[in-house]
């Protein structure tokens, strides 16, 4: 079967000649999304080379904006960060969905991502890896922390941390009983909600040990015991759980925030066919399971769960009872210009005494 497939590919390669020659795929992605074993396997099967650049949402957009969408052939921004930047800067090109094997994806996730990344009737993204952000809690020392606002309570004073970025603003807004996502389309209402969050965060400041900037910094703070509760990604909590069974990821009472990282084609990408090949390659259940093992997050690949390790599944189920999964707040697309409101709030919180 495998040889047949290989022969078929070879035949295809011969027929298409130039189109299928060995190319380089310049991939702009997150740490763990293109592990070495997966890259090696892809290179071996297709003869292409993959150059991986690790980044984050903001840097990806900034990098692509600087070149007008050049320098990379495939990027992996979060699904809520595609429509806005695309409308504003035009850094992506529409996806040719006929080149993607839709059977490999979990249908509901594929449809939701397509809907969220549609600009002027064109689809710009398909889902890859998903996960949530919520709270990492040392249950032995800070069992009382159940929601974002609990980070500001007396009993954990001086031993909490969070990131001064937009997920924190959104998380606090939900924990305070607001619905920031519903206000996305209404800048005045959004500014009002953010104003309340700003007050809460400034009032909370004496409680905070420091604002963490990167995943490694957070790991260090929690491992050393200097921080007992923090806002963090689910994988961070599960990784810490391996070293210290007391520390784990807790889905906040007001709902964990769900994100989906996608595949999107930069506007000036030069190897679209290889990009599609890569997408179809990594979405195969066995390969997707390898990525889950490296990144710690689950993928939108249909059937990959079966291949995931039992330890990870157990951690996932402990953090997410069924009602917590239903309560996940998925990020809707961020309208262009919203970052300016949030930016002002974050700057003022950081500067406040």
């Amino acid at each position: 079967m495998k040889t047949q497939l290989l022969m078929a590919t070879t035949a295809l390669a011969v027929t298409f000649g130039a189109g299928a020659q060995a190319d380089t795929l310049r991939l702009l992605t997150w740490g763990g999304y293109a592990p070495e074993d997966v890259v090696a396997k892809f290179e071996e099967q297709t003869g292409h080379t993959v150059e991986v650049t690790k980044s984050n949402n903001e840097e990806m957009i900034a990098k692509l904006r600087a070149t007008g969408g050049g320098g990379f052939d495939l990027a992996q921004p979060s699904q809520d960060r595609i429509a806005g930047p695309q409308a504003e800067f035009g850094i992506y090109k529409p996806m040719d969905l006929s080149k993607i094997n839709a059977d490999l994806f979990i249908p509901s996730m594929l449809d939701a991502t397509k809907a969220n990344t549609t600009v002027d009737g064109e689809v710009y993204g398909v889902p890859h890896v998903w996960g949530t952000s919520g709270l990492v809690v040392n249950t032995a020392e800070a069992g009382s922390v159940k929601d974002y606002t609990d980070l500001c309570s007396e009993d954990v004073a001086g031993k909490v941390s969070y990131r001064l970025k937009r997920p924190t603003l959104i998380g606090f807004a939900f924990a305070m009983g607001e619905d920031p996502f519903a206000a996305y389309g209404d800048p005045a209402k959004y500014e009002e909600i953010m104003g309340k969050v700003e007050e809460a965060l400034i009032a909370c400041k004496p409680n905070v040990k420091t604002y963490w900037g990167g995943g490694d910094e957070l790991m260090g703070l929690v491992r050393s015991g200097e921080v007992v509760a923090s806002m963090a990604w689910d994988t961070g909590g599960w990784k810490l759980n391996e070293d210290n069974p007391d520390v784990t990821f807790v889905a906040p009472a007001s709902g964990a925030l769900g994100w989906v990282d996608t595949f999107a084609l930069p506007a000036k990408g030069k190897a679209d066919d290889v990009a599609y090949e890569w997408i179809n390659f990594v979405m195969q259940p066995e390969i997707a399971a390898m990525i889950t093992a490296a990144a710690g997050n689950f993928t939108a690949s249909q059937g990959a769960d079966e291949f995931a390790s039992d330890a990870l599944k157990a951690r996932y189920q402990a953090s997410f009872p069924p009602e917590a999964i239903d309560n996940i707040k998925w990020y809707p697309p961020v309208p262009a210009g919203l970052e300016v409101i949030e930016g002002g709030v974050l700057d003022r919180v950081k500067a406040a005494n």
Partner: protein, 285 residues
């Protein structure tokens, strides 16, 4: 012959001219143009000074700049106070191998990257770090002490990072001061302080000025040290520029901030030169 010399001069200057125009002048012109754009709608821009107005109207930005500038000046002064005796010892008192060894010791920390050096300070200063444990072991404090994440930690980091840039110009200028001049000062009845004040410091002035300018500019433009060692209140101006460019996608405001930084820091250096009666020509010559 004259023609040949002219071509030679042009060729010699070429690398520097290329460097200046391609990497400094042209990007700055582009940045300036970006800073003059104001976003009016999705993908629509118009020319205005709105970004510069924002800088002056939002007190936060001005305060952050002032804070950064004051702390950089302070860092420069502390660096000078520590580096001067060190340089004097290396240039005038130490001899032979000791001198090379001492100079090398100042250089050694710069063989590792700034990131690693800053991490080193984080390991030393943090609550569960070496200093805190040492103090507890010695019985000087009862519980863990947190020395990281405050302005003092930033100051330590800045002074440490810029020490070499003060020591090198100071050693060079102090070495050029003949020992006989100092001896003559003592022979003529000078005391330690008067010799220092009347002979050594005036001679070292160009070194002090150029060292101070470099250290001040490096501190003002430092991004890594303040973000890593600084606490929840320590906003540094470069951090603001970074977040405007990368996090908020607001290149227009970021570019305006960049230009204000360039302008205001040049102004501060000029003011300091005037205040101390120095000129740039004397410093360089």
């Amino acid at each position: 012959m004259k023609n040949g010399a002219r071509i030679g001069l042009a060729l010699l200057l070429m690398p520097m001219l290329l460097w200046l125009s391609l990497l400094i002048v042209i990007p700055h012109i582009d940045m300036f143009l970006v800073s003059l754009r104001e976003r009016v709608g999705v993908g629509e821009y118009q020319i205005s000074f709105a970004n510069y107005l924002t800088f002056f109207q939002e007190p936060l930005y001005l305060w952050t700049f002032l804070r950064t500038a004051v702390m950089s000046i302070l860092a420069t002064i502390i660096t000078l106070l520590i580096a001067f005796p060190v340089s004097y010892f290396i240039a005038k008192i130490a001899r032979g191998r000791t001198r090379s060894a001492l100079f090398l010791l100042c250089l050694v920390p710069f063989w590792v990257s700034e990131l690693v050096r800053t991490f080193g300070w984080m390991i030393l200063l943090r609550e569960t770090g070496i200093l805190s444990n040492l103090l507890q072991w010695a019985g000087l404090v009862s519980g863990p002490v947190e020395m990281l994440y405050n302005d003092a930690a930033i100051m330590v980091g800045l002074v440490y990072t810029s020490m070499l840039f003060m020591v090198v110009p100071l050693v060079t200028t102090l070495e050029s001061l003949p020992d006989e001049v100092i001896e003559a000062g003592y022979d003529l009845g000078g005391t330690n302080t008067s010799v220092m004040r009347e002979i050594v410091i005036p001679h070292a002035a160009p070194g002090i000025v150029s060292g101070s300018i470099v250290v001040f500019m490096l501190s003002l433009g430092n991004y890594l040290t303040p973000t890593m060692l600084g606490g929840k209140d320590s906003l540094w101006f470069t951090e603001l520029i970074y977040s405007q460019f990368i996090v908020r996608f607001n290149w227009e405001l970021g570019a305006a901030f960049g230009f204000m930084l360039l302008l205001l820091s040049s102004l501060i250096v000029w003011g300091m030169l005037r205040l101390t009666g120095q000129t740039l020509e004397r410093t360089m010559g």
